[in-house]
Symmetry: C2
Subunit: 388 residues, 2 copies
């Protein structure tokens, strides 16, 4: 039985990871869960999985959760804050940690997990965007197994299995194109928050759903791919594939392309990441090729989606620093959009402005990265919140 710790257990990935655990009864036990402040969901997860350890985001959630669990007699120790998150990242009985915390908050726990020599199933793309080089160096040094929990990165990983000795000519990173693929630039200026949150293919958290609408999400994945698979930006090509059935492809030196195809269901990459090197039950329905819609492919329009190009520019400018600026600006801009402070099209304006106006710094440690991330966020926030 594999022990699992899930960081971000009440988020979309965490919930589906627990579905996969249920579907593979007897294969896993939950060692630890870390969540934010959705206390009632954590409560039910504790009652079902009886983990050794649970952490919630803060004191308030901690007190609330303790209250809800008055009658619970299981073995679970409850923690909160950074201390709790660190405990969950290093939990004694965890063989593998699912890193599914949203955004930059997931950065340090990923490193804690490596330090504790646990395998890591990584969903938080910010870990690679903010600290790709030092993180991959640490993965190498720790000799743990890193598996990606992302449909695209999992697809690439699966296509590379058995092909790691071959030269990769191109990684073809597929993108659904998001909800605004067929809108003009003029129409995109008028889209609402609700329209933006209605993704045609994937049900995800709000930040990544907005990022999918701007294609910033695909841009962040380009950066993620660059580090995860050691491929130069020039060899990563984004292909719009609205049906979201081909989850990505790898082209080798002989012109042969391997593609991973599957239902639009995160449980496939989650189960792959948890079971690796085995494949196990994902609980998804098989694809019926006799009634499947045609697979279409097209080139992304970087005029309409400038943040995709910005990700390439960030890699070309200063691949360890510029992505931090782009990511921090995007976090602030998306938050402003979700709070109704700016229209949709201003997300890219804000990010591009940050890229142009904020200078790179030497980032020599995780502290440096976090400080610079906060600094950029503060610059962007003060510049744009004043204006709106």
């Amino acid at each position: 039985m594999k022990g699992i710790s899930i960081l971000g257990s009440t988020g979309s990935i965490g919930i589906q990871a627990l579905d996969v655990v249920r579907c593979n009864g007897g294969e896993f036990r939950i060692a630890a869960l870390a969540a934010g402040s959705n206390v009632s969901l954590v409560e039910s997860q504790i009652r079902e999985f009886c983990p050794d350890l649970v952490s919630v985001s803060n004191e308030k959630a901690f007190v609330e959760l303790r209250g809800l669990l008055r009658d619970y007699s299981g073995p679970t120790k409850i923690f909160c804050g950074a201390e709790g998150l660190e405990a969950a990242s290093k939990a004694d009985f965890a063989d593998i940690v699912v890193g599914a915390l949203p955004g930059s908050v997931g950065l340090r726990p990923a490193f804690w997990t490596l330090a504790a020599k646990k395998d890591l199933a990584l969903a938080t793309k910010e870990v690679l965007v903010l600290a790709g080089k030092s993180f991959m160096d640490a993965v190498q040094a720790s000799k743990i197994t890193l598996t990606p929990v992302d449909s695209e990165q999992s697809a690439i990983f699966q296509c590379l299995e058995g092909n790691r000795r071959h030269v990769v000519k191109r990684i073809l990173l597929t993108a659904s194109g998001g909800p605004f693929l067929r809108k003009s630039i003029e129409e995109m200026a008028l889209v609402t928050r609700d329209e933006t949150l209605r993704h045609p293919r994937w049900k995800m958290g709000p930040k990544v759903t907005v990022d999918s609408a701007t294609l910033m999400n695909k841009g962040l994945e380009v950066i993620e791919t660059r580090w995860l698979f050691g491929v130069e930006a020039d060899n990563i090509e984004v292909v719009i594939h609205p049906e979201s059935l081909v989850h990505s492809m790898v082209e080798f030196g002989d012109g042969s392309i391997l593609a991973q195809i599957g239902a639009t269901d995160m449980k496939i990459p989650i189960s792959y990441a948890l079971g690796f090197p085995n494949r196990m039950c994902s609980g998804t329905k098989p694809i019926d090729f006799s009634s499947i819609s045609p697979f279409t492919f097209e080139r992304p329009d970087t005029n309409k989606f400038p943040l995709l190009k910005a990700a390439y520019d960030a890699l070309n400018e200063n691949e360890t620093v510029s992505p931090v600026i782009l990511n921090a600006a995007d976090e602030v801009a998306v938050d402003m959009f979700l709070n109704g402070r700016i229209p949709f099209h201003q997300i890219s304006t804000i990010c591009l402005d940050a890229m142009n106006s904020i200078s790179c710094k030497n980032l020599n440690s995780l502290d440096d990265i976090e400080l610079f991330h906060d600094e950029v966020s503060e610059i962007v926030r003060s510049k744009w919140i004043g204006r709106n």
Copy 2:
């Protein structure tokens, strides 16, 4: 430098294998060539590649070739007939043999190659159709590396690399559907030899082109797949994919599907088979996903293409014997069609009649198989040639 022997050097696969050798200058040397009676082509191949050994089909071709090579001072020894074919299958300086002889004539040389402990890049599907079980047993026993030279089987092989330990749920064998995919049964009764030989996607020899039009070729590939990958017929699903860009797919127990995609160019599977475990130059153009036509998929119509169903029936009835009947009947029927003796729709009539009327026999040796194959051919020939 790998030594190669090419059995069938003047056929479509042989010619393209030599293209791959040219494209990878210095990687290979030609140890032997075996051809039929296209003497002028063999002559130019000899002058270019200076093999140690060449075999042509018969005495007449032998004499003719010797005449053409009067001024040639290279090291090439010339043979003919079965003796020459055996010498080419076992050539001293060959590390790998390309088995690309057309039809049942390729059967025995494949076993000779195994006996000589040479790796085998196998294009002749009849080897697996006629003697799948004993051939795969012999491959296991000889410990050589068998690589398929067929776009579909190569695709499956590539999808399984790195996944051999996993349960295969389905093999999705793709089929272009051939030239008559959109014709009705009534229209198919009227098609001509020329229409039949105009395959929409692949340029191949006449026998396999006709088999592609009846989908018998796909049926033979179902049988081939059953043996090559040890998968039951129930787990092999034929999917019509007219664009012929997805060359086949493998679905694993977790619902994840790997597909191999590439240009419609045999040089990709040929170079893969020759270079394995490395990938090398195939000389094909990369696919441009920004201008590619949609990939469509549909279920094959077994009323229109009864020979596809016949292949499944053969596997279900008596998997080591019924395919011999089906294959022999098809060889005779296609030959009669190519010679203008029967209309297109009668190919399937003849094959189905043979399946229904000829009894299975115990086949305990290669001799038994060849004798039974000839016996079936004779029964079918005498029954139908009399009638037309």
